[in-house]
Symmetry: C2
Subunit: 279 residues, 2 copies
């Protein structure tokens, strides 16, 4: 496996880096960002939080806007942020912001033309951690978190792989994609019209049926423009209630869907993950 | 005076906002960003840190990438970030990134075609604080800080107006613009060829001659690509040595010119200013 270093910036005595590599699962070059805390420079194997971003984002948004590095440096935690979809000239795309490049939805597409590259589920769950754990001074302790579309990704990937993740968290996740416009459009395109296959990628459906529990934390802004139509946290709460899922949920007065919300509460998320990664 | 609200985001229990207004000094509409800490919502008049950004930036870069809001919320400090130049269709511009829109250099231009709008010095020193102090719950205690071109702006404006600012600080400032390509190009365009007028906007020249001292803090990354050719902190240190200027200067191993450097040390800057604003 070869990876190419794209950028390096010192941050809170650790290193903020970007890499590009050819990814078999999505059959194209992918870029990711990694924050390596100072502990990783002194030979310690640090745990990794995978961060999945929302619609239109790349590997950069979280690293530039979340203010997570200060806390990751204190906690001795690496953070890895993949891109939100396969990209490039040969990769299928759509004019709208909520389908195609920048909008992979963290599933394995089985519908043409998306099935040639859009296997973000396999990339995030398998190929990327394999690469990270072979190339960087990290342990095999993993947590997963995300925002909006990435919150959907974090919760579904966490619940589908309870043996692989110590904890999962989300800001403003698309909690019940089967019933919202963003999810219905993406799932129809990527997975086809058979809704039976959609249930496997719907956090509320998975949480209702869950038997194995991954410690979970979700935060939602009450002034989020997308709350009622797209995000539907009530469906997730109802599902957790049915299965008895240990979900820490908070609604925050006045906060919206932006990174200003994420940066205000990212410390709580990293501390939550640190407890479980080190537990 | 009328100002138009452009955006509002809750951040660390305070409010991140953008406004647009017609500015007489620069004869066009200007946008600025303001962070109001939670203390400002409970009737307290808070002091203000003015942040001047570097080349190509707008009012947004610092607010999105510096991670300053957490600390400002703790300290009860407002932060105001103006744009880096006048902008708009009728405003003179240049193809290069280091002249024209996005590159006002915080001076009052007296050369055509720049003299019609490029009076950023008057805007930052007078018009903007007057507006801020009339429209927001802030005191008349001011500090000023900036990065690169904005570090040049903060230091020169601070030293030219010691009665108006409690403290000043800079990350990676253009410390001796009379002797570096960025400064020589901008000063020639905005101020003409007579170097006597340049001295009034050169931090090292002002610091060497200073009689009244504004507490000053400067941080510089040792891995900054622009260090030797453009920034020249040694000239500033030599000048401080001549006048006995109370300059806290630190060179930081491995850090570069990016916001990853700024966010790593912004807490120290805000605490420095809080000491003097509340002193």
């Amino acid at each position: 496996m070869t990876i190419e270093n794209v950028s390096v910036n010192k941050s809170f005595a650790g290193w903020q880096k970007q890499y590009s590599h050819f990814a078999k699962t999505v059959n194209c070059n992918m870029r990711f960002a990694i924050y390596l805390p100072p502990q990783a420079s002194s030979g310690q194997k640090v745990p990794v939080l995978y961060w999945l971003s929302g619609l239109t984002c790349t590997d950069e948004n979280f690293m530039q806007k979340s203010a997570a590095q200060r806390i990751a440096a204190e906690l001795g935690m690496a953070i890895v942020a993949p891109d939100t979809s396969p990209r490039g000239e040969g990769v299928a795309d759509d004019e709208s912001y909520d389908l195609g490049q920048g909008a992979g939805f963290y599933v394995n597409a089985n519908q043409s033309p998306w099935d040639r590259h859009y296997h973000m589920y396999d990339y995030v769950v398998h190929e990327l951690p394999e690469l990270i754990e072979s190339m960087f001074p990290v342990s095999d302790k993993r947590a997963i978190a995300g925002h909006s579309m990435g919150g959907h990704g974090a919760l579904t990937i966490g619940m589908l792989n309870p043996e692989r993740y110590c904890s999962m968290s989300a800001f403003s996740p698309i909690s019940n994609p089967m019933t919202c416009p963003w999810g219905q459009k993406a799932f129809t395109a990527y997975l086809g019209k058979d809704k039976a296959t959609w249930r496997n990628h719907d956090a509320s459906e998975l949480m209702r049926e869950a038997k194995q529990f991954v410690p979970a934390k979700v935060d939602q802004g009450a002034a989020d423009n997308f709350l009622l139509e797209q995000l539907k946290p009530d469906a997730l709460l109802a599902a957790a209630n049915v299965s008895g899922y240990p979900l820490e949920y908070q609604l925050h007065d006045g906060y919206d869907h932006s990174y200003y919300f994420i940066s205000s509460f990212i410390e709580q998320h990293l501390c939550f993950h640190a407890t479980h990664l080190n537990g």
